[in-house]
Symmetry: D2
Subunit: 428 residues, 4 copies
């Protein structure tokens, strides 16, 4: 039950243990001051029985919804039957089935001759392994990243991340990476890749020759910046002709968020290295993959390792998710359709208000507010009205919508109604 | 059933998908060429029904055994009841209970006034957050690590790791860290900290003044090097008097591996920052904590984040593990007793053979072979005879025993019998 | 006497000691395979009596010509009278007179409230001290440099230099610097500073906030790229409003090369830090200065030092050069006039040939060849005909003319005649 | 005339221009607050006619005394006859004669098959070129330096320098170098190279494999720390067996300062790379050389350059100095004899006072004071009594004596008398 009638929740009525014991580093929680208890599909319920529509989906880690019953069943079976839980990089039956399914359902139909690395169960770890591999393969050290990129918080991943507050947290100068302008960075005024191509081809430019380019096809944390298909194609082309590896970080936009399984499919490009995490397990369980061209598999055994690379419950749900959603094009098409539905509503909102712009692709959509403060207020109002949404962008000026892809149309409409109401409440 | 009677397993009889699809980076698997299926307590079973005694315990991630039924029950309940699975840093009931239990059972009885950070679900991520925090607090960039240290594979963690093969994988020079000799590095010939103290106090030494020292009380990956109590105390003293933060990396040796919950308790020291992971969830589920002195909690909200910080199934099993094993000193004492039992057997082996030395503390014990090749052969023989053990040390010269702490005495003896037999087979 | 009639000189007829003892690193010499013996004004004579018009002037270190008799007289007097030659940073009479003269003749008339540092006798050392000071003052580490910049070969200076061959010589990744497009880098298509301003002001751009910008007003080594007055003004403005220090590297373009004593005077800007070297001694003697705003003088005593900071013979000639050439505007105006004369001739050449473009400012002029090979051939032909000129630019595509500013008009015309003849010989 | 009778000089009676115009970075001058005017042999005279015995010799740049008449004559002739002054790396007659003489007088008799690079006219530039070359040759980035080393102030040279104040001046973390203990760093307690050998040979030590070791045979700035002959031999041996290049920085201790031309000759070792500067010109004129094994000459043309590499007046005096002092062993033997004479006197002083220790080799001798303040006071008293000496060492606790090697025995005794008197005045 949605609960606009109750008083707004405030942080100070929460259990004391969070402020007295947990570090001040926590952030999401500050916008949603309640204690969550259970969840199902697109709905989350707190300890006081309030229910929220989830337009956040674990920052993209819950593309198939909370506790999806199709995945829960084999997970419970596996755990109940004492299946191997933890296995580092040992061969297990669960991993075997995952690899076979991933190859059959994802790689082979797309003609992707990739090897699969389990790099540790987080997106940052996948990015770290991708950067290491690119440097090892090319013998070069420098990486080109893009303005407003987000790739993670460990030192290697952070060096290719744009956000200055997060970068400052490193405590050492972040080097070996150079930012280039993401698509539309100059509002369309400047020709694509003008700067990047020019400095690459000028032996006097001072740019260290890069090992790789790392790119998101849609920048989620960066504010739902969408790269055009032709920009991605030109980037792939530029990398290929200059012998630079192309890494697509598909941690947030992969696993169907924009429609196809990989977000780069729409552009018809084939990256050299791909990072996957978040929704790959399908159930919110930690898991990550690094994919790369077969001939790039120059790793020495154990050269990149980690304790939680073999998280078998995640293999179980990941396998089931692939079998359930990716053997036919239906799910992908449904996502695109729902994305259009969301976009239509956002366009309406844009037209009714000034200072608001719709943006996004597939089921990664949002509203950019000229006045960044309004974005936070809209999210807070929506929370009070029963919808979970977060802001993104360099000034947190974008309200980001990442509903589970499995959200029913009525729930989607209900959430959009509340968003609409929240925007009106703040802007009028 | 142990299976000495069957022919040795070889890699080439394994399912093709591992070699054709999975990256060559996998390593553990090479010593144990079979496909594991299920596990219970200290026993692992492969797809052909062979059973193995696990003296490896997920590299220390399975201190309470595989699929411990005391933890499995609440985990299944939680999942079945649609408890929140994934929550980033949102407040959840499961996290609340974990924090309350951790404070009550672990922190308060030990007088540790620590804040708790959930830094991402791996040890490397905990190390990355610890290094960031130390740099932010002190405004200095350099870290002192120790010879043969292992702290992880992400770029920050790798820079304080000793292994040259793993370091080379970075593809960029690893800087901002200086190694110092670990205890007993010179075989007892040189006075403790002679070099470290001298360069710290000499303004002309060329050592960049460190933000922090990061240390393992027992170096597991480094070859079961045990720091003496008095060395640890002197190190803590040296850090305090020079205003350098002391980070104890308790990822592998914490959670009771050496007896007490924290491995540093035996030395009576209080680090400024502590990293925990591996067995903190108790069930092999990805989870990590970074603990630090309350006054060091200078993080800005969101300054270090990550998608899988809130893995609630892990909170459920972690809470249950604390309640089950750590409310009384019994478990800790039992571990010490078992450790002595293991050590007695290793000492016997040492005495019966030349070129073999027993080493370790608590339930992290091992045998160092003068001829490193023998260590690998002993592990392979033990595998063929039904025991899982790995090697460690800079030349992989140490057979490392990390049995689940819950291993029954008969199973422990059975595993040691096989170890004994394997050593004899190789050395005689 | 010019000597077109003799056979071309080749390297193999030179004294053996150069190839057998001197390192292969030498470069200028390869274009001019003869042994120079004496020089006077704009003329250099080799050991076989051949005479060359010098349109190179020690890469800008001989603005007042070779062995200028007005400077030679006090130099010989000083040396003959046992004046102090070497003094580190001790106060000497020669340094006192230089400082008084520099303040009176240069700083005060221009309203420049600068402190003067003697940083070591080379331009690279001046750049190193400038970068150190900028970092110390701001507490930031990153420097913004420009495409095709040249600032020197020591590690700090090299990191802000563009040339990829020279950068590769470092043997370590050159970091802490980011190149930005120099004026006209995109052929006028893109608005000035579009990229630089955008990444500075975008907190998500990934650009480390710079301590300083280092710029040449005309890039000599970079190919005689001339920054427009309004570009320099906008750059100074951008630095001031963003609290970034502006360093003008006037090592080659200072001391009157473009007309005014400082090359930035034409733009009416006042940098925060200025580097000077090359022609500051006036006689080709090693000497360098770092100038900076009085309030930036936060150096601790001895924080930047060097053995050859007090090269008193250079102070003697430097003082005399200031007294001789800079007490009135005549010399500056004469340089501008001669520059126009040179430019007129180059424009003529440009019009007569296709694939050649005139470029430069003041007495730093040149011809850019669409076919880079032609530039080298023109220089070699000119050498054979008795004129010394070098190439510059990322592909050595620019023939660079840096005649002594004191070159007489007839000598200038004679040299230009030979250049003209050489271009015709190669292009026709 | 020595001038104990006059009042002590203080900074505030000096010409105003030094404090109002020159940067606060000057340091030597602070101990010697007067304005120097002329100098001859071992005597310096200030503008008020006071004369000082020079036991400082331009920090080792004036080994043959001030304005040595044997060198002055050809210098004046060369300048008067309009010899080439400035030549970058062009072949000149003066350079040819220098190279021939250096090969004949220095290299050939010692069997040194070195190539000669002119790297820019300062010791720091020679060090920069040496580090670059070592990295280029080996493909490794890390350098091992020693505690209390001094190699210069440019970024590359500074990274291998020990002094923490000077290091802090960099404004960025100085990395790619690791300090090792210099000989006798532990007062003889610890076996030589114990730490260095151990970490080199331990693949788990965390030490980045070094390209080169850079060492001074006697650390001048570091406090006159003398490496034993056998330590240098063992170091050379260790480098050779581990395939690490050995760089001897002979900028201060070369050119006869310790007796032989190269300071490493006494140990019978042959470095791979040698840096020379300071006294190589013989007259205090800026000049430097980098010498290296013929097979290491892998420089590309122009890969390391600089404007003042061809300072021909320095070649003239350098050639004459070699001809005058190094064609027979007499000068070297005389230096050793004078060094013994100095040492005998210092030993006497040591015996007469507590808290003072004699140290040094050849004509680089000094007194170490347990109370560092006394060292500065002794220097100041000596200055007031007419002797120039500086302090060195990490706490400036060592009074350093570097008299010109040509100092007559009476002048040497006179200076030592004043030193003796100064020590007595301060310690009694």
């Amino acid at each position: 039950m949605l609960l606009a009638e109750t008083a707004p929740l405030t942080e100070d009525r929460l259990p004391d243990v969070f402020s007295s014991v947990e570090s001040e580093v926590r952030s999401y929680w500050r916008g949603w001051p309640t204690v969550m208890q259970s969840a199902s599909d697109s709905w989350v319920t707190d300890t006081e029985g309030r229910r929220y529509i989830d337009f956040f989906a674990g920052a993209g880690a819950l593309n198939y919804g909370h506790n999806n019953p199709l995945l829960k069943a084999p997970l419970l079976d596996y755990l109940a039957s004492d299946g191997i839980v933890h296995s580092l990089d040992i061969a297990t039956e669960a991993k075997q089935r995952f690899l076979e399914t991933f190859a059959r359902v994802i790689l082979e139909p797309r003609g992707l001759d990739f090897k699969v690395q389990f790099p540790g169960p987080t997106g940052a770890n996948s990015v770290e392994s991708a950067l290491k591999l690119a440097r090892k393969v090319t013998g070069r050290e420098s990486i080109v990243s893009f303005t407003n990129a987000f790739h993670g918080m460990t030192l290697g991943a952070l060096s290719v991340t744009g956000n200055s507050m997060k970068r400052a947290g490193a405590g050492i100068p972040l080097v070996h990476a150079t930012p280039m302008p993401y698509d539309n960075y100059f509002g369309g005024v400047t020709e694509d890749f003008h700067w990047f191509e020019r400095v690459l081809d000028d032996s006097g430019s001072g740019l260290n020759r890069p090992a790789a380019v790392i790119v998101e096809t849609v920048q989620g944390e960066g504010g739902l910046n969408v790269a055009r298909i032709e920009w991605l194609q030109a980037l792939a082309d530029l990398c290929r002709t200059r012998d630079i590896l192309l890494i697509v970080d598909d941690v947030q936009m992969g696993c169907g968020r924009t429609g196809p399984f990989f977000s780069f499919e729409a552009a018809g490009i084939v990256p050299d290295i791909v990072t996957l995490s978040k929704s790959i397990s399908g159930y919110g369980l930690p898991m990550a993959l690094t994919l790369f061209r077969r001939d790039l598999d120059v790793w020495a055994p154990g050269e990149h390792n980690g304790t939680f690379r073999g998280h078998n419950p995640a293999f179980i749900t990941a396998t089931k998710a692939l079998e359930t959603y990716w053997q036919t094009p239906d799910f992908s098409q449904e996502t695109i359709r729902k994305g259009e539905l969301v976009r239509a509503r956002l366009d309406e909102i844009e037209q009714r208000h000034s200072g608001v712009t719709a943006r996004g692709r597939g089921m990664a959509q949002g509203l950019k507010f000229d006045d960044a403060d309004q974005a936070a207020k809209v999210c807070r109002t929506a929370f009070d009205l029963g919808v979970l949404m977060e802001t993104s962008g360099p000034s947190d000026e974008v309200v980001k919508l990442l509903p589970p892809l499995t959200t029913s149309e009525p729930d989607l409409q209900k959430g959009l109604d509340i968003l609409d109401e929240s925007v009106s409440a703040i802007l009028n």
